[in-house]
């Protein structure tokens, strides 16, 4: 239960005003006196930036409103497809209706274009987030409004189309039946003698001119003249049966057509739903497409990066190895250049000798090498035992490894 205290607010505004006046305080920009303030207010409000956006939005809305009013105004005339037969005063013709259709469609298109334009402009303009959000929401509202008005139109149109179809069906039915009856009668007539033919012709012509009820009565009239019929009763019966069969066939065909028609209407409705959904999904699919493309790009880049990383890694390993080897060698050399170089030389020499030996006598005398190694060992042990030992060990190992491999080979 909300209580309106606007009046109270106005009253308090007044009291504040009078109080200010009495005190002679100039409050802010409001001015001391009331009248002054009012003028000031007017003055101030006029240059207030009345947003371009909102005025344009309102314009679009008023356009849509006009369309709605127009549609509602002509709704009755538009829908009543029958009435132009029944009533005498002026009604809409079909061309006028088509005109309305066309105009409305053009109007809707322009409206939606205007909205689209507003949207792009609103996006383009530099604004804060909130204003942007607000504007897009406003545009959503307008779009929704347009949609609702469009719905009025499409409903109206659907009714019209349906009625036209109904009318067509009805008008088709009527001559159908009458022609059927006349046809059947004429088929019977065809076998009648020529003396009656002219008379019959006149009656059938009359039949055509008159409406169905009269045709019925004619039928009766016709029956009177059956006395002069030359056809045997059997023949008549055959004809009658054939006639009935034909009628039945026609009826079943007609039923089928009607059913199919119903289905078509239903399908068209479904179609409508589907198109709406498809249109809705279009943007989503676009979005997804974009995302997928982006994702593919990312994956490609990632693969590149990974490949590079692998490469770097391998290079890095080689460098590390090299560095370590260099380190160890430099350590060796720094420790004792002489012995180290000696040992390296020995190692190389041993290996080489071994290699040569293997090649010549295919491993008959490995002891030779070991002997040599032993000599080098004794020589080097005097220089520097630890390094020498290492060198000797290395030399022996390499020698043995070489021996082993060569024997295998």
């Amino acid at each position: 239960m909300a209580v309106d205290i606007t009046l109270l607010f106005r009253a308090s505004v007044k009291t504040v005003k009078t109080r200010n006046k009495a005190l002679g305080v100039a409050v802010g920009g409001g001015g001391g006196s009331g009248s002054d303030g009012a003028r000031d207010e007017l003055f101030r409000r006029s240059p207030r930036p009345k947003g371009d956006f909102s005025s344009r939005a309102r314009e679009v809305i008023s356009h849509i409103g006009k369309l709605r009013d127009f549609l509602l105004e002509h709704r009755k005339d538009y829908i009543n497809a029958y009435n132009h037969i029944m009533s005498d005063y002026m009604r809409m013709t079909d061309t006028e209706r088509d005109q309305i259709d066309q105009d409305a469609q053009i109007f809707m298109r322009t409206c939606s274009e205007a909205i689209q334009q507003l949207r792009t402009e609103a996006h383009k303009e530099v604004h804060s987030q909130q204003v942007k959000e607000h504007r897009s929401a406003v545009l959503d509202f307008i779009e929704d409004y347009l949609k609702r008005v469009c719905k009025i139109y499409s409903e109206q149109r659907a009714i019209r189309v349906k009625r036209v179809v109904d009318k067509k069906r009805l008008s088709r039915l009527e001559p159908d039946q009458s022609s059927k009856s006349t046809e059947s009668s004429s088929s019977e007539k065809a076998s009648q003698n020529s003396s009656e033919e002219s008379e019959e012709k006149s009656t059938t012509e009359e039949n055509r001119d008159k409406n169905l009820t009269e045709a019925q009565s004619n039928f009766g009239l016709w029956g009177d003249g059956r006395g002069e019929d030359e056809l045997s009763p059997e023949e008549i019966q055959v004809f009658e049966q054939e006639n009935q069969r034909l009628v039945g066939e026609m009826n079943s065909l007609f039923d089928e057509v009607r059913q199919i028609e119903g289905k078509v209407v239903e399908i068209s409705r479904l179609q409508e739903i589907f198109t709406e959904k498809v249109l809705q999904q279009e943007t989503e699919i676009d979005n997804i497409h974009q995302l997928v493309v982006g994702a593919t790009e990312n994956i490609k880049e990632g693969n590149e990066d990974i490949r590079e990383a692998i490469k770097n890694n391998a290079g890095f390993r080689v460098w590390i190895l090299f560095f370590l080897v260099m380190c160890s060698f430099s350590l060796l050399f720094l420790d004792c250049p002489l012995s180290a170089s000696g040992s390296v030389m020995i190692v190389t020499y041993c290996t080489w000798r071994r290699w040569e030996q293997m090649n010549t006598d295919s491993g008959t005398c490995p002891g030779n090498c070991i002997l040599f190694g032993g000599a080098a060992e004794s020589f080097l042990s005097r220089v520097r035992p630890s390094v020498t030992l290492f060198g000797v060990f290395l030399g022996k190992v390499t020698g043995l490894v070489c021996h082993f491999f060569l024997q295998k080979g």
Binding site: M1, I5, T6, F9, T15, G30, V131
Partner: protein
């Protein structure tokens, strides 16, 4: 026409009434009519935290959009000027809010201003705004000023709480603090009374008030009586004149307001519960009809995993639109799990049907006999297309409840809440216990320290005579070993000593929870929520103290507990201090308001109670809504003093 509308509104629930009031406010205080082809209007909504709390359980963002709200912003956030839009303010008339509004007026943020105050604004504050408007020469831009009298939050059709923002102010702790001064107490009472007054204005009825003597509830009753009386006496501005015209069948049936104090029943808020809504509130972060779940994404890999477990927060709204929630919020949990399963199955069946249809349609081109089937299929397709959105919505709801229920179940399993529930029920109904309390407390696998504390407090509260010192020491030792903080116990001790003087401890209705037969448990194991190890407990109707008080007051039964309750009738010319009710007719409508905090357990109990009574309504309100852990926190703060 207005009369018809009012009559229709009289039958509506408080939730609908508040929603209607909010919608009217958003529609510039013109009754809202649903119009299909109305021109769109747009406006921005500015609210403070109070307004947000009031609106959020009632209107979703989509509904706000339908009302033409493009932006909804907090008053104290940074707002950019949008010069060509009307702004609807929905704020509490506090100093800082008024200041901020004046600032908005000065900065010419919006085109026009519709000011709505949640509760009545004082004259001086109104003059402040007038002053600012004058200074900014924006008096004409202030289009409407309204007092809305909507200062309460409706959570359910028949449940409301006072406020959410400054709930410390009216909490149990604030009311029961030993060192509270008179002025502080006054402000607390004023806040409560103001909100309650708003509630009755929105309800459009003057209640008959009953309350217990010598409690905070009595203070509230006295003040509320005074306020209602003043308002009724001022015939010109009375807020209740409208309803006498159109209240229809309720015009001579006035509602009964039962004001109870939290202190009459401290065990219930500590109790472990077994119904869905209360469980959600107890173990999850359930707040203003929105539950926040923390889900660990993906599988929890080995503890040594370098990646920290990522938690993504999810929040679900449990609203009145959710039929499953409406149906099952009061059901015991195993039943809920089963129903979720059933719903899921029925949903799957429907989905399969749609899929089957799709395959038939796909086959049709090749099938010779398809044309005859076509006749069926178009109809089927139409129904399928129209039912799809419904189906999607259903799926969303099922997913929601599956997630929530799984989270709840996880808690139940890890904390063995079913054991606690059963045990506490036994304590409260004073049946023999099959396991000693000490065992429960020292069991390291059952529950958190908080659960143990709750259990012990319930035991302590509902015990006829306090356990001996030696026993107490033993319990205390066990509790500290279990890692409990003993401060709440200290407060409860004081409270018990005090309550014993005042009255005998209330007894809790006899109860029966029994484990369901083996058969049903076997049946349950097939379901997705494997309820292994969780006992399938069935609740039998038992009335909590609050419900029993309501029962005796509503039916005018004589009951030693409630006979001395004070009686206030604001419509009577002279206030009297008697406790003798004037009319002896039983009431049709009642409002239970708990001063000092309520919970979903009591709400559910009341709902179950009133379900059995034909043509009666009950509304449950409380000054704040807390779950057991929040309550324990308050108790421990009280105990520290």
């Amino acid at each position: 026409m207005v009369r018809v509308k009012m009559a229709a509104a009289a039958a509506a629930s408080i939730r609908e009434r508040q929603t209607v009031a909010l919608k009217r406010m958003l529609n510039f205080n013109v009754p809202h009519v649903k119009n299909n082809t109305g021109e769109p209007v747009w406006k921005v909504l500015i609210f403070d935290r109070f307004g947000q709390d009031i609106i959020s359980p009632l209107l979703s963002v989509k509904e706000l959009r339908d009302m033409g709200i493009t932006l909804h912003l907090l008053l104290h956030s940074d707002r950019d000027p949008i010069p060509d839009v009307p702004a609807v303010y929905f704020v509490m008339p506090t100093e800082e809010n008024i200041d901020r509004m004046c600032q908005d007026l000065r900065n010419q943020l919006y085109e026009s201003y519709y000011l709505n105050f949640i509760s009545a604004i004082s004259r001086s504050k109104l003059e402040d705004i007038a002053n600012a408007a004058l200074a900014a020469s924006a008096v004409t831009q202030v289009a409407k000023v309204f007092d809305q009298y909507l200062n309460f939050i409706t959570l359910e059709d028949d449940m409301f709480v006072l406020c959410n923002q400054n709930k410390e102010l009216v909490s149990y702790r604030a009311i029961n603090r030993p060192d509270i001064t008179d002025t502080e107490m006054e402000t607390i009472m004023d806040t409560i009374v103001d909100s309650l007054f708003c509630f009755f204005v929105t309800l459009g009825a003057v209640p008959i008030i009953r309350c217990s003597r010598g409690t905070a509830a009595e203070m509230v009753a006295v003040k509320l009586d005074k306020k209602l009386r003043e308002n009724l006496r001022d015939a010109r501005n009375s807020l209740f004149t409208g309803d006498t015209l159109g209240a229809g069948q309720f015009s001579f049936q006035r509602p009964l307001l039962v004001l109870v104090d939290r202190n009459i029943d401290l065990a219930t808020p500590l109790h472990h519960t077994w119904t869905y809504q209360a469980l959600v509130h107890d173990v999850l972060d359930f707040h203003l009809n929105r539950v926040n779940l923390e889900e660990s994404s993906g599988v929890e890999n080995s503890p040594a995993g370098a990646r920290p477990k990522r938690k993504n927060k999810k929040s679900y709204d449990l609203t009145a639109v959710d039929k499953f929630w409406q149906k099952h919020k009061g059901s015991p949990f195993p039943e809920v799990a089963e129903s979720v399963q059933q719903e899921l199955e029925s949903y799957r069946a429907q989905e399969d049907e749609v899929k089957r249809l799709k395959s038939i349609m796909g086959l049709e081109g090749e099938d010779e006999g398809a044309i005859s089937m076509l006749s069926d299929n178009t109809a089927k397709l139409t129904s399928a297309v129209s039912s799809l959105p419904e189906l999607l919505e259903k799926k969303r709801l099922i997913d929601l409840h599956t997630n929530v229920a799984t989270a709840v179940l996880e808690h139940i399993k890890t904390r063995k809440l079913d054991v606690y529930f059963e045990y506490e029920e036994k304590i409260m109904s004073k049946t023999t216990l099959d396991k000693s309390l000490l065992d429960m407390i020292s069991d390291p696998y059952a529950g958190t320290p908080e659960d143990k504390m709750r259990l012990f407090l319930i035991y302590y509260i509902s015990a006829q005579q306090a356990p001996s010192e030696a026993d107490l020491e033993q319990y205390k030792k066990a509790l500290t070993e279990a890692g409990c903080n003993l401060t709440p116990l200290q407060y409860i001790k004081q409270w018990k000593a005090f309550a014993k003087m005042a009255s005998a401890p209330t007894s809790y209705g006899n109860t029966a929870t029994k484990p369901m037969g083996l058969l049903s448990r076997v049946m349950n194991t097939g379901s997705q929520f494997v309820m292994e190890g969780v006992k399938n407990l069935v609740l039998k109707q038992q009335n909590l103290p609050v419900t029993r008080i309501l029962d005796s007051l509503m039916e005018m039964k004589s009951n030693p507990e409630t006979d001395d309750y004070r009686y206030f009738d604001p419509k009577m010319l002279r206030g009297s201090d008697s406790s003798v009710p004037r009319n002896k007719n039983p009431f049709q409508e009642a409002i239970v308001f708990v001063v000092g905090g309520g919970n979903y357990i009591e709400y559910q109990n009341l709902i179950d109670y009133i379900k059995g009574k034909q043509g009666k309504h009950v509304l449950y309100g409380c000054s704040e809504l807390f779950n057991a852990s929040q309550f324990i926190k308050q108790l421990s703060l009280l105990g520290q003093k």
